[in-house]
Amino acid sequence: MKVPFSWLKEYVNITITPQELEEKLFSCGFEVEELIDLSAGISRVVVGEITHIEKQEGTEHLNLCRVDCGDYGHDLAITTGAPNIFVGACVPAALDGSTLPGGITIKKRMMRGVESNGMLCSGAELGIHDDWYPGAEVNGLLILDKTDPKVVPGADICGVVGLDDFIFDISITANRPDCQSILGIAREVAALLGEPVKMPATDYTCPGAPDAQIHVKVEAPDLCPRYLAHYVRNIRTAPSPRWMKKHLALAGLRSINNVVDITNHTLLEIGQPMHAFDLSTLAGRGICVRRAHNGEKITTLDEKEFTLTENNLVICDDEKPVALAGVMGGLNSEITPETSELLFECATFARDSIRKTSRALGQNSDSSARYEKGVDQYSTELGLARALHLIEELNCGDITTTAFDCSDGTPKTRKTVRLIPGQINAVLGITVPEAAMQDILTRLDFGVEIGADGIWTVSVPRYRDDVEDFPDLAEEIIREYGYDHIVPTFLKSAAVTTGGLNRPQKEQLKLKRLLAGQGFYESSTLAFYAMADLDALHLPADAPERQAIRILNPISEHLSVMRTLLAPSMLNVIVENLKKGNAAGRLFELSNIYRPHALPLTAQPDERLSLCLGVFGPGEDFFTMKGAMEAIAAGFDLQFRYQRAEVPYLHPGMTAAVFCDGKQVGVFGKLANEITSALKIAKDEKESQNIYLAELDYPALAECFAADYRYKPMSDFAPAKRDLALVCAEEVACGEIEATIRKASPLVVETKLFDIYRGENLGAGKKSMAFSLVLADPEKELPPDQVDRAITKILKDLQYKLNVTLR
């Protein structure tokens, strides 16, 4: 909300500086986002009276003026090329060393051999236009009005043309739509300063003849709780007076004519949007406020045609829509210089209806922006009265007694809140003196009646729709009383509770720390991506991961589906790192994925944590990832089993499914070659890329976590160690041999591969694998012959089941 300081002062006596006011507003909940000094950039520009003009020799159009600049010099020579100069004219004179808007600096200099002590300025050079100061747009110098007592040689120009002003750009919270106007802010400032509000005049007379034919009705009171209309005849459109033009100019609006300006002025001053219909264009001289019929069309005054639905509120004459309610008038009923009679509309529309229509049609205006924030019925009444007063004051028509007030029945009286002061103090935690409470509420225009029983009945100003209960009043009181009165306390009345992370939360944190210990960095990625990200992983059409929830209103297609798998996010992170020249790394993310129970979505989906690991770089291989899996298993006292698996996005020969307690908990492997080849990285880098991904279903994994760790007694008996060098066919997997060994003898407590050898002496298609075994019996010392028997059994089984022989 932009509030000009000078305009604000018309309603409140303000004796403090704009900077002081900014601070006070801030502390009571109105943050001034910017305090704009209109004179900023203008310095040493003063009123100069031209006392003598002579043509400058040797030039076409330059004149050398002698200028009286008061204390700055009574006879300064200044050259000008402006055509509209005359002796006795008072003009803005930019002196030597002065500055003008746009960072322009004026210096004394030689102009065609003559010294010029500055520059005489036009309105444009001061950054103002005709509405701001009459004559500001003429071709030439700004000729100042000598009847103004401020126009004396040497006077600062900003004070003369009204640039000695400030604009407060105030951020208004959503609960205070009543402050979206100059008057609204004036009420707050008045309360802050303890000054009365000088209300704008709202009186008027009705000399015009009524018109009984005019009729107004509201068929959708839910969307239009209040609709006021007033008939004005004998319209006399003319330019607005200077004060009104100045008000509009301060707000950044240009003046059009008195009638249109009055509606704009009322919006700015009271916060009430208004519309004026050229009554002669309304079929049947009637107004009906209703929902549009589906398919109905309207062309708004910016010549855009819209097809409407029943969700759009329209203002119609007896035949057709003539305005999109609260958003914009129709082209056909627009006010023109020929308009002779008009019907003023001043309404309260449901904010949500206006917002939806405005959004749906992509059409907005100052009016719709205001309605979206919320307009109260008090302002609707006040706005119409103020506009009619201005019609009379500016003599732009004859007001009639033909007026309409369609209401949904909302009471036109103040609502009340009953409280005892102790309730306010109980919210705040301090004791605010009752006199201070009463004073603050009264200053804010609340009515306070204190009953004999000590109960306060507080009546709420009609423009304060936000105040409903005593906590709202507690806020009113503390924001005026001062938050610096709050004394920090430390939950002194609260019961003692136990706190901290619960077990699952601790486990998650432990997992993250464990992975960090393994050299992994935690990544944090967006919860949504594109279907194309799943396509890139070659997931088949029927893959469950493709059952993804779509966002109805995504920012872009790139961020349109809730992820069902973390792998695409991880792959994107890896690609981005490669692009930045980070050639290697280990990353993980423990985040939710979203699996719908059914699509389209009917209930909250299954949000489950997924653990994704990504490893890339020349030094990494499949077994780095397997090592990370083993670290997780070790950290949580689990036994993982691995099985060859097929995953669409992983290498068919380098993929494993991870099993724990007999259930699959995830997969890992190398990124499939064809996917690596398609990554958006430099071509010559693709072939060398070594990218490994893992994705584990965290809840499945967490189910396997032991409830509690128990001490396992150490064996008192020394274990026996044996090394076996075995020869087998190339296809035989290490895991198969280990499983066979363990199955062959329950005494085997540990098997560890320590060497693989391939050589001509073994024969083609053969390899030698060397294992070290640990055998033990928790109950007794193992006698050597029992160890030997176990080894014999192991070798026999290996030979029989896998055709593995001792080397």
């Binding site: 705040l428 906590p471 306390t489 430390f490 706190g499 619960n502 944090s524 967006l526």
Partner: protein, 340 residues
């Protein structure tokens, strides 16, 4: 005998002087002190000594033997020390050579800040509730006193999945879910991802918040400030102060914006605090009575305070990160800079 010993002694001294290593030391022992060494062998010479002189001669031999043994010990010490010194010298390394490290990873700065905040409040008895990210309108808005058509819905651009389901715009949904399942006294934090359809240099469509809620008897605005003082002192240093100023959130009344005194300049005014001496860090207030009522908690018996913190904002302030995008890029050069 005396003569023999004198001769031998001269040889012993000469050989002892030559002892410079374990090997020569062992040879010396072998030569003179071992069972068949030259000194124990002197005892055999006693046969040739007159019987009456034998005790005296024996004494002389023993005394000689003891002397040589002591000399041997001294030599052994000397050799051992010399050899240790030589070995140490040979084993010495260039300590400026690069270290052998097992690569250490790290948690994301968002996680670090989140954990730090949880630590502060865990000590005050707060538990942690992880609410759903896909939420219904009821928990995200309606029961938080943001009914349909409420102006506050415009404050937050919401991602919708269906008419009723949406991506939570705030972690405040945790307030409702906790109060539905728990009776006062309640002290809970609700951290997590939140979503707004907003994306530019200073906004990410997903970011992280931490909600805090206390519901008990006699809880006031003063308690909110006291609790938050404790938080910001933990995050930004013991001298940090808070300042409350009025604001608006539908779920709290009164609502406050909480600023902290600038920890970069101590409140004097600098570029971080834009010359004001204060930095806006979070919002909060006294829980709206309607929110308590919506959760079947009697607002005439219990009162509550709540606050919400943007984790990214705290991380940026705490670590001096000037671009929020960095927190979501996962550039390893960035991630490597953070440790617990």
């Amino acid at each position: 005998m005396q003569k023999i010993i004198e001769e031998l002694s001269a040889r012993v001294q000469a050989d002892l002087a030559k002892v410079a290593s374990s090997d020569t030391l062992a040879a010396f022992w072998q030569e003179y002190l071992s069972k068949n060494g030259k000194i124990p062998s002197l005892m055999k010479e006693l046969r040739n000594v007159a019987a009456e002189e034998r005790p005296a001669a024996g004494k002389i031999i023993n005394s000689f033997k003891a002397q040589v043994a002591a000399d041997y010990e001294a030599a052994a010490q000397r050799v051992k020390a010399a050899e240790l010194a030589a070995r140490n010298a040979a084993e010495a390394v260039d300590i400026s050579l690069p270290a052998k490290t097992r690569p250490m990873g790290a948690l994301h700065p968002i996680t670090l800040v989140k954990n730090q905040i949880i630590d502060v409040f865990a000590g005050m008895g707060f538990s942690v509730y992880d609410g759903p990210e896909i939420e219904d309108d009821d928990h995200n808005f309606t029961r938080l006193n943001v009914p349909k058509n409420h102006p506050a819905r415009d404050m937050q651009d919401t991602f919708y999945l269906t008419e009723e389901l949406l991506l939570r715009t705030q972690t405040s949904n945790g307030q409702i879910r906790v109060m539905d399942s728990q009776r006062p006294p309640i002290k809970v934090l609700s951290p997590g991802r939140v979503f707004r359809s907003d994306s530019d240099a200073t906004h990410s469509p997903m970011f992280h918040q931490m909600e805090g809620l206390v519901v008990d008897k006699g809880i006031t605005l003063c308690d909110l400030q006291g609790m938050l003082d404790c938080l910001v002192q933990n995050l930004f240093g013991q001298d940090t102060r808070t300042r409350l100023r009025p604001s608006y959130f539908p779920f709290t009344e009164p609502s406050v914006e909480v600023d902290v005194s600038c920890f970069a300049c101590g409140g004097k005014g600098c570029s971080l605090c834009k010359g004001t001496g204060w930095i806006e860090v979070l919002g909060g207030g006294v829980v709206n009575r309607k929110v308590l009522q919506n959760c079947n908690i009697d607002p005439d018996v219990y009162s509550g305070i709540a606050f919400g913190i943007g984790i990214e904002r705290i991380a940026m302030l705490k670590y001096g990160i000037n671009n929020m995008g960095l927190l979501f890029e996962n550039d390893l050069r960035f991630l490597k800079q953070f440790q617990e």
